[in-house]
């Protein structure tokens, strides 16, 4: 930890939000919405989930009360940053018809309000790095994502209370934010305080407007302990060794038939997944108006229409669609983007209505390939 590491008391969060709003940011942070902690816009520390915990298991999510009054002591929020930086529904362009001509009147690229994220986790940051690679780092970058991303401020937090579906440590991550942040907070008890690490000059500038004191060696040791304890509390594991070749070789595995019989193709997993990036377009024209617009909306490889060409869908069976999703995420992604497409946030397991667990499915494929099982629930 560096010399510029500071201690901020809980009341500092309100000031931090005020400073960020004062700089023109919409502040997006964990907040309780419809019975779950979601990332959404907040206007003060009162909007944060003080004393709220969560229980996450396959197909199960419950809020709990905590007696320690901690504010960031939950596992991954649903939804994460994706819904802000890569919105589920956005304008691509709008045009106006006149006779058989048309002109483009708006491309939406300029309507971007900068966002400051407060309370995002290491898994979210690693998912963000994947979206940077997929959406901003290729021959044809997504102009709308790039515009939102380059304006974003990130105050991450150490994930001190991972959930039952978490396995970020299996996917190369961990509870402590490692990169891509302006500030990183670790929430500690006795006394309740935040150790704040500075990632960028902008982060230092923002923090200078909030009351803090220098962190001591004891504070820094307490962060190390909190991280080590959280690392031991991952609810699940996945063995990623040779995963690409394993899944490519397992294209005709009976495991796909079995999971295909359970999957409802509801698409929850792809909606909550922080790296899933598939979209479709919708053309909307208003009756009686000369205007029409094209919108881009999240899509899912679990829909039958997803791979539709003239003559029919190329993936009519559920097994084929689950295979596409899992093989893309864990195998093809490595060829495409030189990384795993899964960060181990566990959202797809938690929000699956029938509790399908990709760590268990991978373990079954490994077992059916004659390799000893490692991974799944602890």
């Amino acid at each position: 930890m560096a010399d510029d590491t500071r201690i901020m008391l809980p009341q500092g969060l309100d000031r931090l939000i005020e400073v960020l709003e004062g700089r023109g940011y919409a502040v997006v942070a964990p907040t309780v919405r419809t019975g779950a902690v979601s990332l959404a816009e907040v206007h003060g520390a009162d909007d944060l989930p003080w004393g709220v915990g969560d229980e996450q298991e396959a197909g199960r999510y419950r809020l709990t009360e905590r007696d320690d009054g901690k504010v960031f002591a939950q596992a991954a929020a649903a939804p994460g940053m994706k819904a802000t930086l890569f919105p589920p529904d956005e304008l691509i362009w709008r045009g106006r018809r006149s006779g058989s001509q048309f002109e483009v009147t708006d491309t939406g690229v300029d309507h971007v309000r900068p966002t400051a994220f407060l309370g995002v986790r290491g898994c979210d940051l690693r998912a963000l790095a994947q979206h940077d690679r997929v959406l901003a780092g290729r021959a044809f970058p997504d102009a709308r994502y790039v515009r939102r991303r380059e304006g974003a401020f990130i105050a991450a937090v150490t994930c001190t209370d991972p959930g039952g579906t978490c396995f970020c440590t299996s996917m190369g991550g961990g509870p402590h934010p490692e990169s891509d942040y302006d500030l990183a907070l670790t929430e500690l008890s006795d006394p309740h305080r935040f150790v704040v690490e500075v990632g960028t000059d902008l982060g230092a500038e923002v923090l200078a407007e909030v009351d803090t004191v220098p962190a001591t060696a004891d504070d820094e040791a307490a962060v190390t302990t909190a991280v080590a304890e959280a690392t031991m509390r991952m609810g699940r594991t996945m063995d990623t060794d040779g995963l690409r070749d394993l899944l490519y070789a397992a294209a005709e595995s009976p495991v796909w038939d079995d999971v295909g019989n359970r999957c409802l193709t509801c698409m929850n997993c792809t909606m909550v997944c922080p790296t899933c990036f598939c979209t479709t377009v919708q053309d909307v024209s208003v009756l009686g108006s000369a205007d029409a617009e094209r919108r881009r909306v999240w899509d899912s490889c679990f829909s039958e229409e997803f791979a539709h060409i003239h003559g029919g869908s190329l993936r009519t069976e559920v097994r084929s669609r689950y295979r596409q999703w899992l093989t893309h995420k864990l195998a093809a992604w490595q060829d495409q983007f030189d990384a795993l497409g899964c960060v181990g946030c566990g959202r797809c397991i938690t929000w699956c209505p029938v509790g399908i667990d990709l760590t268990a499915e991978v373990a079954k494929i490994r077992a059916s390939a004659g390799i000893p099982v490692a991974g799944g629930m602890r």
Binding site: I92, A143, D180, T200, A292
Partner: protein, 285 residues
């Protein structure tokens, strides 16, 4: 711990908004297939290579990927040959002369026909699959002396569905292209071949060890044609297929066109059979 926040670069060009092109004419090729001829409204004519496609937009209706079917060797209007099979394709072919369409692209890989110079070229087309191959054939006949034997094997449903009939005759008569046409259903006055186009591969005249093969048609036909070509001794990497997949963006972002690790829009549509064979052999991949 101090790290740098690597924010992506500024002012990236938007690839999702189309340029406007005006229809200078629309030619009916067969009962359900039309060639739409376009001139740019907003700027210069796009440059393309044989085998590439564009995203064609009918305002307020939608956007679809369509292969360019015109002559890449000569400056001229932009041509797309379109089969009337859905709402967007119908709007594109039904738009009147002078109407404005949206065009994004060109996108995707090319046939890279010049790789076949100094040897024979076999072109195998099924149905509307002849349209993406037309620019490749035009490139070959423009430099006919650079190639050995040039064979076009073309299968259509019926004699009435044969595309570019005048051109086929002129390539055969004046440009030394061996053109063999077969139909699935040859009643009426058809005196030519009847049957699968892939059945023409075993007896076609070419040197398998010095051949570039270009294949486009329904996927089942491409698989059989590629297998027949490889069985004759053409190496898999000298057999090229142009794939059809669902595409919503054309630039690798929407995810629809993926075939395992390949994005058909940017890694394809033209891909070597050596790479595709293991993927196309798995059902519903």
């Amino acid at each position: 711990m101090t790290t740098t926040l690597d924010r992506p670069g500024h002012s990236v060009r938007d690839h999702m908004t189309p340029s406007r092109y005006r229809i200078s004419r629309t030619r009916q090729d067969t009962r359900d297939t039309f060639t739409v001829v376009l001139e740019p409204v907003d700027g210069p004519m796009l440059h393309y290579k044989a085998g590439q496609f564009t995203m064609l937009d009918a305002f307020g209706v939608g956007e679809v990927p369509i292969s360019i079917s015109g002559d890449p060797t000569r400056p001229g209007p932009l041509e797309h040959t379109i089969r009337d099979v859905g709402a967007v394709t119908h709007a594109l072919i039904a738009a009147p002369r002078g109407a404005v369409l949206g065009v994004r692209g060109p996108y995707g890989t090319s046939w890279d026909v010049a790789d076949g110079e100094g040897g024979d070229v076999v072109v195998v087309a099924g149905g509307i699959g002849l349209a993406p191959l037309r620019p490749a054939l035009m490139e070959i006949v423009a430099h006919r002396e650079r190639y050995g034997r040039v064979v076009l094997l073309y299968g259509a449903r019926t004699p009435e569905d044969i595309l570019f009939g005048d051109e086929l005759r002129s390539w055969a008569r004046d440009r030394g292209v061996v053109v063999e046409v077969t139909v699935d259903n040859g009643q009426h006055a058809w005196r030519g071949k009847v049957g699968l186009v892939t059945n023409l591969v075993p007896r076609a005249g070419f040197d398998p060890h010095a051949t570039l093969a270009l294949v486009c048609g329904p996927e089942v036909m491409m698989r059989s044609a590629a297998q027949a070509l490889v069985a004759r001794g053409v190496p898999g990497d000298r057999v090229r297929l142009s794939l059809e997949r669902s595409m919503k963006c054309g630039v690798g972002l929407c995810g629809h066109c993926q075939i395992r690790e390949l994005f058909a829009c940017v890694d394809g549509p033209v891909l070597g059979y050596d790479r595709l064979a293991p993927l196309l052999s798995i059902r519903e991949l």
